[in-house]
Every structure is written in C-alpha cells, then in structure tokens.
C-alpha cells in the first residue's frame, strides 16, 4: 500500500464479498487556534438553535410539491394482486453543486464542476415490525439494496420529474414485494433470531424549510491562487509529488415522506488540502497532508496561511526522509488531541453504531455492555450532530435532520466511563426502539447509523506539557528507554465484522520518541498502531486539556459522509506499534526535471 494519496487511499476498504464492514476515516486535520477571541469556552462545542440564522417562513421549493403529489398518488394506488401495499415511501432528492480544483508545481491538474440532482427512493412493504429491508441470513444479498441514485432533471419540470418518479417507484415496489416474500421464507427456515427488534421505528414527522443554496465559485481566481501556492514546491526536488486543492460543495436536500415529513435543508462545505509526498532512500513512501474545512468560503484561510501549511507538510516529509525507522514497540504513549480523536472515531465510534448490534455478521463488541464500565471513569463521550463549531472551527458532521428525516439529538454514549447508548438510525435494536437522528448516508446508498461529531471529554486533565512529563515518568516506571508521541494521524480503519479479527489500525504519520533520559524528542517513520479495541481503552491514564477537531470523511457501508471527532490529548500506559510494510521501489533514478531546465 502506498501513501501517495492519503485522503483517498483506503477508499474501497470494505469488500463487497465480505459483509463484515470496515470503516476508513480520512483526514482533515486542524489545530485549534490557541488565542480565540471568544468569550465562550472554546473547549466546548457551540450549538446554535435550529433555524437560528434562517427565517422559518421560507416557502417550499416547487420540487417539494411534485414529490409530494407523486408520493400521494403512489401511496394511494400502488397495490399488487393480493393487496400488498407500501407502508412507507420516502423520496429524497439531493441537489448537489460541486467544484474542485487542484494544482501541482504551479499548474492546474484538475478542474471539475458538476451540478446534479439525484433521487433516492426508500419504499417499504410489510409493516414496521417486518419489512423488505430485513436482513436475510445465509446466502447472498443479505442486506436490501436501495434505489441507488436516480438522475433527476436539473430544471423544475413537473412532467419529466414525475415521469422519473413514476417509473422507478413502480419497479422498486415490485422488487421489494418479491424481497419481502424471500425474507418471510428465510425467517421460517432459519433458527429464531437473537434480536427480535422491529425493522423500522416509528418517529415524529417534521416540516421544516430553509432556502435552497447554489454554488457561486470563482474558479478563475481560485485557479490562480492554487497555481501560485503550488509553485512553491518547485524548489523542493525531493518532494516527488505535491498538490494544493480546493473543493466546494453546496447542496440542498429535499425530503418528502408518507409520514408527512417535509424537509428542505441546505448544506455548504468547503475544504482545502495540501499534500506532499517523498520517498526515503530505502524506498519507504512518505506522505503528509493538511486540510482546512469550513462551512463558508470566507472562513477558508488566506494565501499566506495555506502556503505556510503547504511548506509545513513539505518540510515534514523531508524531515521524515531523514528520520530513523520505527522498531516494533510496546510501551506508554501520548496521542496528541487530533490523533486521539481519530483513535476514538475508529476504535470506539464504529462499534457503537446501532445497526451493528443487530447484524448477525457483526462482532457486537459493546452489545451486552450497556450500563457497564467500558472506559476510565474520567471520560465522557457523546455524539452531537447539532454542534456546529468548536472554538472557531466548523465541525463537518453538523446537521439538524438525518437522512431518514429524524431530528438530530446529542447522544450520551459514555457517562463517566459507563456505556449508555448507541448511535441509532430507524433500525431498532434490542433495548433501543427509536432513532436518535444518526441515520446517515452518501446519496445512493442505504442509510445506516453513523457518527456525526464524536466528542470525548475528560475530567482528568492536565496541560499538554504536564502530560508529556507524566509520559517520561511512566517510561521510567516501566523501564522503557522511551515513550511515543503520536503527533498526527492521517486516518485509519477498523474491522467490526465477526469473521475478521476485531482489530483496528491507525496510520500515524508524525511520531516522536520521547526519551526517558531527557534527550530531545526524535522523529521516527513507518509506524502503524495495532491493537484490539477493548483492551486499549483500559490503558488510558490521563488526558490533556487541549481538545482539538479532526474534520474528515468517513467511509463505510452507507458511503462517505462528513464527520468530526473531538478529543483532548491522551496518555496510555501501553500501546503496540508495528513496522509498516514499506514500498520496495527505489527513489526515482533520474533527477526531477525541475533542476536542469531552468
């Protein structure tokens, strides 16, 4: 596995052939500015009231009416010969405007713009307790597939829109009637299920409109900015590839359901990423990236700040070239805030997703642990989609309504170390009958319960410098010559399935040895953290007082979605690292053309 593109590297991590799914989280890291001119406590996420910034009197877009008309028509008249009817239909249209530009060495390499509308249909036959989405055991197609993305006209033409809705609704209905019959047979031939929860929870309906958004993106100005900043890398011949990119997203989700939910919700996301890639003389691929996320274009950094970040990733990969290779090691370590946030997202977050507690192919790490101690008692963990900022940093996992139209809730997952809940979509599990607004998806995928903004808080905090001092003490106590400081993590993945080993792996890129004898810290390269989830939580000794945000994209069975994870730095008594498998190809034979031809 090479590390050329850390942000997309592990995208296809979940293999279609093996249902136990893994997740991969990739990286937008961001430090919290220390001096935030805010009167608020910047270590606590801020939660705006819904609609705070928008008048609630917005009129629905005409599309809402077309969707509602066709939905009503379908609910009234869809029925097969024996009277089977849909009991639930959800039409969601994702209108998405995206622009992406990327430059390398002063030249534009990518220039994309797309505008599209995709229809997703969730049509259920049967009833809330048993419907066509029920998991089938044994054999292929254990999970129901949704409608996928159906392209819908960009213009508000009622005839063309209704025609598309009609065509696909009718076909999906027939397909789902067939699947329900298969589900019923499957239930009869298999042993009783462990978890007899319903297939779909009953939830309140909501009517809420905000104005749709469009994307105004000045591609020419941006292209020139990226060219200028990316040209900096021309002076670094040992950086074999590099990029400066920006992407802008403005989308509106239109949702109409047979339970009378009507939602029209906009979203904007901007992101800039700088990357650099080099090779050590022994062939090891070294890459580093840094990103900025914001909910508004104005909040993206200026040229000077981006250039500084770009130079910093360049210098990091160059420093890594000189760094010694990590040796396998077991001992104490500090995970710096953002690194710790990734760690929690992967190792804890994915295992408290509700649907995994029911899926018979899953590992059920936490299924029987409700009201039991799972973390040290000084830790609280919650997931709050309503939180929009930490300090001045926008949280990428923010939303008011999830992709099933359920109002988002702050969910207490761990209270003083005790497990209290799961992230729930409308797929109930034993003991949890309702959604808490965490049903999410990438357009085109089936909804699953997912993380939004995972926030770890501690009551056992010390300043970071103190945490490092305790690390040295811990080394001395354990008789280790050094401890490790994980300064940055590019992402990670975890396996939650029953068939695979219950393990995780995070991919740290900046790791230091912190010596017990007081020598200066030493950068090392080629580190992978490995471990099993339950044991590593017991080993958290203390935390910093420095919560920071990791803004990223998380990929799993319901696709790629924006998320945040927030955590303070964390000291663990034991962590295990292994040597990364390294690329065997040598550095380039010829010098880069940069030098000679100028």
């Amino acid at each position: 596995m090479t590390m050329i593109a850390p942000l997309v590297l592990l995208a296809p991590l979940f293999l279609p052939a093996s249902p136990p799914l893994r997740c991969a989280l990739f990286a937008q890291t961001m430090t919290i500015p220390r001096a935030t001119p805010s009167t608020d406590d910047h270590t606590k996420p801020s939660v705006p009231k819904r609609g705070e910034t928008q008048a609630q009197t917005v009129a629905p877009h005409p599309l809402m009416e077309y969707l509602a008309d066709e939905l009503t028509y379908s609910m009234e008249r869809l029925s097969d010969e024996d009277g089977t009817k849909p009991y639930y239909i959800n039409y969601t249209v994702y209108e998405e405007h995206t622009a992406a530009l990327s430059a390398t060495l002063g030249a534009l390499v990518e220039d994309r713009r797309s505008d599209e509308r995709n229809l997703n249909i969730d049509l259920r036959v049967g009833d809330y307790s048993l419907d066509n989405t029920h998991q089938m055991r044994g054999g292929g197609a254990s999970h129901a597939s949704g409608s996928g993305n159906i392209r819908l006209p960009l213009e508000d033409d009622p005839y063309a829109i209704k025609h598309t809705l009609w065509y696909h609704t009718d076909r999906l209905f027939k397909q789902n009637v067939k699947r329900l019959a298969q589900v019923k047979t499957n239930l009869k031939v298999k042993v009783d299920e462990e978890d007899k929860s319903d297939d779909f929870s009953r939830e309140e309906s909501h009517v809420y409109y905000e104005p749709p958004v469009t994307l105004a993106f000045d591609r020419k100005t941006w292209a020139d900015r990226l060219r200028k900043i990316s040209a900096v890398a021309r002076s670094y011949p040992l950086v074999y590839s590099s990029s400066v990119s920006v992407s802008a997203f403005a989308g509106t989700r239109f949702m109409v359901t047979s339970e009378h939910t009507r939602l029209q919700t906009p979203e904007r996301r901007y992101r800039m990423i700088v990357t650099a890639y080099a090779k050590a003389d022994d062939g090891m691929d070294l890459s580093q990236s840094f990103s900025f996320s914001a909910a508004r274009e104005e909040k993206l950094p200026g040229d000077a700040e981006i250039e500084e970040a770009f130079l910093s990733v360049i210098n990091q990969v160059l420093a890594l070239r000189e760094a010694p290779i990590a040796e396998p090691y077991i001992g104490p370590a500090v995970l710096r805030n953002r690194a710790s946030a990734v760690f929690f997202h992967e190792i804890f977050g994915h295992r408290i997703e509700g649907h995994r507690q029911k899926d018979v192919t899953e590992g059920h790490t936490f299924k029987k642990k409700i009201d039991k101690q799972v973390l040290p008692e000084f830790l609280d963990v919650y997931d709050d989609p309503l939180a929009s900022q930490l300090g001045d940093i926008d949280l990428r996992g923010q939303y008011h309504f999830d992709d099933e139209g359920v109002e988002a809730e702050r969910v207490t997952l761990v209270d003083r170390g005790i497990l209290k809940g799961f992230l729930m979509s409308r797929s109930p599990v034993e003991g949890f009958a309702c959604s808490n607004g965490h049903g999410r998806r990438q357009p085109g995928r089936a909804v699953a319960s997912r993380q939004a903004n995972l926030i770890v808080q501690s009551t056992n905090q010390v300043p970071f410098s103190e945490l490092k001092r305790i690390l040295v003490e811990e080394c001395q106590r354990q008789g280790k010559p050094y401890g490790l400081l994980f300064d940055d993590i590019s992402g990670g993945f975890t396996t939650t399935g029953r068939r695979g080993a219950q393990v995780f792996k995070v991919l740290p890129v900046v790791v230091y040895r912190v010596y017990a004898d007081g020598r200066p810290d030493e950068l090392i390269r080629g580190v992978d953290i490995v471990g099993t989830p339950l044991t590593c939580f017991e080993k958290i000794i203390r935390t910093g007082d420095d919560p920071a945000v990791f803004n990223g994209s998380c990929g799993s069975e319901s696709g790629w979605i924006p998320v945040s994870a927030v955590s303070p730095s964390m000291l663990v008594s034991t962590i295990e690292i292994e040597k990364r498998t390294r690329a065997q190809s040598r550095p380039p034979i010829l010098d880069p053309p940069i030098e000679e031809s100028q």
Partner: protein, 609 residues
C-alpha cells in the same frame, strides 16, 4: 479533411458519451465559426532506423496494398509553440540517454502517448436537462521496452506500461515532472518483467516463439489543433426539443438522449524518432427508448448519429421524424407475436450483416501473438492457422482500409491515417476469392505475421493491439435486393418451412456471438408477405457458418461500431443457409401498476400548456 473522429469515441461500450471520455484541444473550442477545412501536409522522412541494419521480419506480407493517397496534409516541422510536445520529446530523449539502473538493461525503445481532450456532454429526458457538462483532461501513457526487439518485457502478463494525468496548463516543468515519474515507474517495472520473462523462458521449452516487437519507420506528422463548431446552448435546446418528443408517446416507458461533442489532440512520440500530433473531432448523439409488451417483455431501440463535423449531422427536424418512426415501430413491435423457436434460412439486411461480420470476423482477422503463459486456449478463434484456406464463399472479397473517411457519402467512423504505434495505416487485402490471405497486424509479430499493417490500435491509452479499421466486404456475384429476398423464400420452401426470417436490425453481439434481433420478420413462402416477430435470440454459432452464406446483395451499407474501439464495416445483405433462434428466457416485471403521468388527465393538462 482529417479527424478520425469515431476512432476515439468508442472507448466505452455502453455509454460512449459519458464525461471524461473524449476531450480537448488547445484553444479553438466552440468558436462558432463553422467547420474550417484544415490543411496539413504529410511528410515521411524514412530516416535511418536507430540501431541500424535490422532486417525486417521474414515474411513481409505480400499483398499489402498501395499506400493510400494522403488524405491528410501535415507539417513536417514540429510546431515550436507546443509545450506538451516539447516536454514529451525532451523527457523521452533524457530517458533514452540516462535512464538505467546499475547492471540492468537500458531501455531500447520508449513510446509516449498523450491525449489532450475537451468534451461536452448533455443528457436530457422528456424535454428537460439531466446534465450539461464540459470537461478538459490530459492523460498520458508511457511504454518503456528493455531487452531487444527480439526479446523484451512485453507479450507476457503484467506488463502494462505506466499512466499519468498531466497538468491542464501548458506548464513545461510541471508536465515533464509528471512524465518523469511515470517513466521511472515504467522502467522499473519493465526490467523486473524482463527478468521474470527470461526466467520463465529458461524453464519452459517454447518452440517457435515470435519476436516481441518490430521496428518502424519514423513518422513526422503535425496536424493543426482540432476544432469543432459546437454551440452548447443551441444543443441544450435541441436536446430538450428532441427528448420532449417522447411525451407524444405515452406507451414509451423510458427514454433519454445523450450527446457528446469533443475534440482531441493525440500525441505519440517514440525513440525511433516518430513525432505525431493528430487532431480528431467527434459528435455523437444517442437516443434510447424502451417499451414493455403486454406480458412484460422489455423492448428497446435506439437512434445513433455520429459525425465529425456539425454539417454531417442531419437537421433536427429529421431527427424528430426519426424519433416518431422509432416510437411507432416500437409500439408495433410490442404488439407483435413472439416465436418460440426457428431453424432455417436467415436474411440479414446490410447493417445487421455488418454486425454478423463484426461478431464472427472482426477480432479473428487480427494477428495477435499469444502472451507467454497464456496457455493453449488463447486466440482459439483466431484465424491465423487458416491462412491460405477458404473461410468465405469463393465469390467473396474482404479488405480493411482505414484511410478513406467516407463511403458513398456516409462517414466511416473507423477511419484513421496513423495507428497508435506511430505506423501509417495501409489497406490490407484479407480475403481474396474466399481464401484467407492476410491478417491485419500491429507491431508485435506472430508466428506467421511479421510486419505491422498500421492496425495497432487501443481503447484509451492501453497497449495497442491489432484491430480492424474499416472492413469492406463484397460478393462479386451479389444479387439485387429483390432476388435475394426471392432466394430466401425459395430456400425456406425447399426446407419445407412456411416462412423464412429476415433480420432488419439487431443489437451488436458479443465476441463470436450474434446479437438479439430488434426487428425480425417472418417472410411467408406462399405470398411473400412479412410479419413482425419479437423475443428471439440467436443460439451460439461458429465462424465456419460464414462458408455457408448462400448469397449476398449488391448494395452495401456502413455499420459504424462503437464497441471497444471504433470500426466500420461496409457490408452487403447476406443470406445464411441455416441458423437457430429461440425465444429468450428472461424474467420481466409486469406492466406498471400506476398510470404514467402521461396518461393521467391532470398531468396532461399541466403539460399541454
């Protein structure tokens, strides 16, 4: 006029008009100034080969016909303002001179290809746009060969060259940087592959292994940048207008239109000294319609318009009339009876006959070396072993000639002047009086075919292999259409059948498989009347059935194929003595439960405004 338009189009079999397919040129995009005739000159320096006196392969195919007259004029002098070309040449020269790992062989040959494409795609349905997108891409492929022409790192598994995405700006350093990295990676793979291949050859006893590559004369061709007078706004309107036509036909359950317009400048440079910049343009409109028969069978048809210049497209009014006709015929087809089984003579009209030849001959007349380790079944249907034997009736002639761009005024999508291995295309006589005389070939020799005929082609930037360009089929005893039909009736009668079968159109088949007929007719023996049938598909056939063609027509038509690389087949109608067809077994959904919006009074009212 140049432009091997469709040559590029077919890259993706089913959706040739998706974005990032085709693309750009420098400047001059959609200037609205009309199609400008482009002048260029060909020059052909025949410089001394690098490495000197290599004898060309043993058998130089005898019947390589004349070089086609130069339809292209190009400048022999490389334009000095082409940054991409300069970056490619400079990095190529540096790599040939300096790229080597200690104790390992140097490259003996390097070829670079780059494709600079600009495209616009428009999708529409029922009178409204689904999308309208412009794209610009520059892709690059490097092919480093180490060893020698006799034995190198190719013709073995896992030897694919390296790809890169190039900067869109004409930035010399940034472009070279990307080429440098791809070449480095390619060279390292090449030396490893060669070592692996040599080890394999030491272990196995392989008799009569052909050489891996043949040298070629260097070519210098610089065509002016491609241009096309495409107005996106106008075509968005046209797409709406055309796709809205289906609203008149409520029985058509689904329809869409996709349009692709693009230009490409394709670059090839190699260490033999070839420098080519070829310009190409393409316009492609596809209109699909789908209907369901009463018991659920899905039936579909499509209209395809292919052109290199706007002026080659029919007027929109004509397209509207074509849509009307397609819909009317689909509705008629949906009500036609099905037929369980048929064995007997089949008459193929010229276009479906072209598809028969595509399925049974297009791949098979291409010389293809067997990759090492590929085993005995590789290329089983390839006709190389039948060279000198009869494969068609004695009155049949068949040749491939990529040079002309038109056949009786119809565009030949498969035309081109130079192949993807920098070899000038030549006309190849393949079948003479029914006897297989030659195969079309790329630069990798086979046991019997030792010289490229300029047919080394590829989809995208993949390695080139031999493919047909424009295949011409004729029967010196060809009959007028009426007599051919009479012969069908007579043959059916002799077989004791009530009717024979005439196939008017069919979907393209796969490799060595005939497609499903779209429109097929029973032709009754008693009074010659025709009756539409549906739901039939051909049972498997072999190339040998071509010897049993009873007769062919006199008139020929062009079938432009977009599957896996553009090609054209110019074919007469053919009558085959006996084929088997059966009703296809497929589970279809029942008819829609809900009324289409087109059939609901309230929606009609809204729409009729």
């Amino acid at each position: 006029v140049i432009a091997e338009t469709k040559r590029r189009l077919p890259r993706y079999r089913y959706r040739p008009t998706r974005p990032h397919l085709f693309l750009v040129t420098q400047g001059c995009w959609m200037d609205g100034s009309g199609d400008e005739p482009v002048n260029s000159t060909v020059s052909h320096p025949f410089r001394a080969m690098r490495g000197g006196a290599r004898t060309f392969g043993c058998i130089v195919l005898a019947l390589l016909c004349v070089f086609a007259p130069a339809t292209v004029t190009a400048d022999q002098k490389a334009p000095d303002d082409d940054v991409l070309l300069k970056a490619m040449v400079d990095e190529l020269n540096r790599s040939m001179a300096e790229l080597v790992l200690a104790d390992l062989p140097r490259p003996y040959f390097i070829q670079y290809r780059a494709s600079d494409r600009l495209s616009h795609t428009i999708d529409a349905t029922n009178g409204t746009l689904l999308g309208s997108n412009k794209a610009h891409t520059r892709t690059f492929a490097s092919r480093v060969r180490v060893g020698s022409y006799e034995l190198d790192n190719t013709n073995v598994g896992g030897s694919g060259g390296a790809r890169a995405t190039l900067p869109l700006d004409d930035d010399y350093i940034a472009i070279r940087h990307a080429i440098w990295q791809a070449t480095d990676q390619d060279y390292k793979n090449a030396v490893e592959t060669l070592t692996r291949k040599q080890a394999y050859l030491r272990e196995k006893n392989i008799e009569d292994r052909p050489e891996d590559f043949t040298p070629a004369e260097p070519l210098l061709v610089f065509e002016p940048p491609a241009k096309i007078a495409f107005d996106p706004k106008q075509w968005e309107d046209n797409a709406n207008l055309l796709s809205a036509r289906f609203i008149r036909f409520p029985d058509i359950q689904r329809s869409n239109l996709s349009l692709f317009a693009g230009t490409v400048n394709e670059y090839i440079v190699n260490s033999e000294g070839s420098r080519l910049r070829m310009a190409d343009t393409g316009l492609h409109i596809e209109i699909n319609a789908e209907i369901q028969a009463q018991e659920g069978m899905l039936l579909s048809d499509n209209l395809t318009y292919i052109a290199e210049r706007m002026s080659q497209l029919p007027p929109v009014e004509r397209m509207l009339a074509d849509i009307d006709e397609m819909c009317a015929r689909l509705m008629e087809l949906s009500k036609a009876p099905t037929l369980e089984h048929y064995t007997g003579p089949v008459l193929f009209d010229p276009i479906p006959a072209g598809k028969v030849f595509e399925a049974l001959l297009a791949e098979q007349v291409c010389a293809a070396p067997t990759p090492l380790g590929a085993g005995g079944s590789w290329g089983e249907d390839n006709l190389e072993k039948k060279l000198g034997r009869r494969i068609l009736p004695r009155s049949f002639q068949l040749y491939d000639d990529p040079i002309p761009d038109l056949y009786e005024g119809t565009l030949l999508a498969g035309h081109y002047a130079y192949d993807d291995e920098a070899v000038r295309a030549v006309r190849v006589s393949i079948v003479d009086d029914g006897i297989l005389e030659n195969l079309v070939a790329a630069r990798a020799p086979t046991r019997k075919v030792k010289q490229s005929t300029g047919h080394g082609r590829s989809a995208g930037l993949a390695d080139a292999r031999a493919r047909i360009g424009c295949l011409y089929i004729s029967d010196t005893d060809g009959l007028p259409a009426g007599e051919l039909r009479q012969l069908l009736i007579q043959t059916a009668r002799e077989e004791g059948l009530d009717f024979g079968l005439r196939v008017e159109s069919m979907w393209p088949g796969g490799f060595a498989a005939l497609g499903r007929p779209v429109y097929a007719y029973k032709v009754y023996v008693d009074d010659g009347r025709e009756e539409l049938v549906r739901g039939l598909e051909f049972l498997p056939v072999r190339t040998t059935i071509l010897k049993r063609i009873l007769a062919a027509g006199r008139e020929r038509q062009v079938y432009n194929s977009l599957s896996g690389g553009t090609s054209s087949i110019v074919s007469p109608a053919i009558l085959l003595e006996e084929l088997d067809l059966a009703k296809f077994e497929e589970e279809f959904d029942k008819l829609p439960i809900l009324k289409s919006p087109a059939l609901r009074p309230s929606e009609r009212a809204v729409h009729d405004n």
